[in-house]
């Protein structure tokens, strides 16, 4: 081993010790990523005989936890994360701060959610007038309008049907709207955190429509919530008959109040706000209703002063979550990790560039790869220490390639609160390893 390599290794081992002594979290935030990379680089170095010469010689003390009784079990409990993970929280945007917290949103810390499932307490929120906590014994769903037999169902009725359980992502149409053309948000939580994924359990909407005797002439339905905004959207019947679910559970427990307890609609792959929470009513008709929430809001500015409406699908998109804004990396091995997803199908491939999009290499997709679900990609990167720009790009099962922002700008108007940002998103890595928003 050359002298400079020895010195480098020694430095790595030293800083690794420092981290261990500092007893910092292993899974979150800027320092954790540094420690992960350090630990990996360190263990790789240990394989060499010359590395042993530099081995730590201080005797490791017996950990306190080996010598002290643990916490007593409680007779009843609902577990919470370690206190050392207390900074892993949903957060609001620092860039677009609403004047109130009722029609507002919170974002998932996707840099701190390994795997593809978002814990229920971290699932992003978007409410239009706060969230109720509805007594399931008093909740009712009605199905009426162009049906032969209007129906009412209680929650006890709904949970009696055979279950359908599926993994689906959910993304707000506004995800990324603060960072189209200039770098504003600091972390991936605030650039891409209106994104979550869960295993959902419920009943197909089509079963209930069949039971009510849906009129063959019905082409659109509304779904309406029991919240204080009475949020509702018009939905084409084809979607309702295909994969729409009446959902009452997510990730092994009943829905959280923030996510629609006791009942919500789930329209896989579509912008989150159409998956109506606290669902109280479905009504069948022959035309869309053109509600405020599908004209004045949730429409897309287009060239010539026009607006695109009923743009439901969340098109294929990917983002690197680790390393990402606010983190710091060390030279040598770094696993680039991220999410890819498509509202039009499965993810077929993800490519990663470490030179700002000039050259690309194909990343590994981690199983399971599921239709309309978050997919994990991983890419082994040896960072040489110079400035770099890292970015991911996905291809879905329709052949659609994730566009650049410039590609999108050619065909849409990027002005105001622009929805449906599925453009490539770069992170800059400075020569000292700091990772920052690379837009613009």
């Amino acid at each position: 081993m050359k002298q400079h390599e020895k010195e480098q290794l020694l430095q790595i081992v030293k800083s690794s010790e420092k981290d261990i002594q500092a007893d910092i979290s292993i899974t979150h935030g800027r320092r954790s990523f540094l420690r992960n990379t350090v630990a990996m680089a360190g263990s790789a170095g240990m394989l060499g005989a010359s590395a042993l010469a530099n081995a730590q010689s201080d005797v490791l003390p017996i950990p306190e936890s080996n010598k002290t009784m643990g916490n007593q079990l409680k007779f009843e409990s609902y577990g919470v994360p370690s206190k050392y993970e207390s900074n892993v929280k949903r957060r609001r945007s620092d860039i677009l701060v609403n004047k109130q917290q009722y029609s507002d949103w919170s974002m998932t810390p996707i840099q701190s959610t390994p795997g593809i499932v978002t814990p229920n307490g971290l699932f992003y929120e978007r409410h239009h007038n706060g969230f109720p906590d509805i007594d399931p014994d008093h909740h009712k769903l009605v199905v009426h309008g162009m049906v032969a037999k209007p129906l009412v169902l209680t929650m006890n009725d709904i949970v009696r049907y055979p279950t359908v359980t599926k993994f689906y992502f959910m993304e707000c149409s506004g995800n990324g709207l603060t960072d189209w053309l200039t770098a504003k948000s600091k972390t991936v939580q605030q650039t891409h955190g209106l994104l979550s994924c869960a295993q959902w359990t419920g009943v197909p909407v089509s079963w209930i429509l069949d039971e009510a005797g849906i009129d063959p002439k019905a082409t659109w339905l509304i779904a309406e919530g029991a919240d204080a905004s009475g949020h509702f959207r018009s939905i084409p019947i084809d979607k309702m008959l295909d994969d729409a679910l009446l959902v009452y559970a997510m990730n092994g427990e009943m829905l959280r109040p923030e996510n629609g307890y006791p009942l919500r609609l789930l329209l896989p792959g579509w912008e989150g706000n159409v998956s109506i929470k606290w669902l109280r009513r479905i009504k069948a008709g022959t035309e869309p209703w053109h509600a405020r929430g599908e004209t004045a809001r949730y429409t897309d500015p287009m060239p010539g002063g026009k607006w695109r409406k009923f743009s439901f699908v969340m098109e294929a998109k990917s983002v690197i979550t680790n390393p990402s804004g606010g983190m710091q990396i060390q030279p040598g091995f770094n696993e680039i990790r991220g999410y890819a997803w498509s509202g039009n199908g499965k993810i077929n491939a993800v490519d990663v560039s470490v030179d700002g999009g000039k050259n690309w290499q194909t990343a590994e997709l981690e199983e399971p790869v599921i239709d309309k679900c978050l997919t994990r990609f991983k890419f082994n990167w040896k960072w040489q220490g110079g400035p770099a720009q890292i970015v991911s790009r996905c291809v879905d099962s329709t052949g659609y390639v994730q566009p650049t922002v410039a590609d999108i700008q050619k065909v849409r108007a990027i002005t105001g609160f622009v929805q449906h940002h599925n453009g490539l998103f770069p992170w800059n890595v400075s020569s000292n390893g700091e990772v920052t928003n690379g837009i613009g």
Binding site: H128, H144, V152, K306, E315, N348, A349, V395
Partner: protein, 199 residues
Amino acid sequence: MVSVKQIGFGLGLLSTALFLACTASADTTNPKNTSGAAFGKPISEQALVLWNIDIRTQDGKGLPPGSGNAVVGEKIYNEKCLSCHGADAKGGAMYGTMVGGIGSFKTNTRVLTPGSMYPYAPILFDYVRRAMPLTAPQSLTNDEVYALSAYILNLNGLVDKTAVMNSTSLVAVQMPNKDGFYVDDRPDTQAVRCMTHCK
């Protein structure tokens, strides 16, 4: 899959991509109900009278009886809306302006208000009745909602101050953005999967 056949692409990768394309399908389609389970109970439309509040805004289907004009609406507004929306609906403690913006959509700063954005005036009635005031939704009478709709339309220069809004006159109000929308026509981007020497 045309786009994956682009340049700079190894054989192994190409075959993987094609394999995945062949296996891709609409996995998400729900199964049929073969169980015979059917637990809904019949309910009459009459029983739903308090829930059935949606307005089909392009033709006003569902608008209830009642009426009001901007003179009355201004008084209700100042009492129940002003604290959040500000004087003359020009923006306040909780929300931005609800006046102006007509003609702004062809500029770089689109100003979204009911006047500039709503394609159909009954959207005002539907939204105000179900969602406003934020602190007491569904507390306004139909007459109050018609009057408030008239007031916001009047502030935007779309109806006279004394014009009475009801289930027919509200539908007849011509909104500037009536023809401003078209239905989703994506995919609209044409990205190519370039692998080397891109840009």
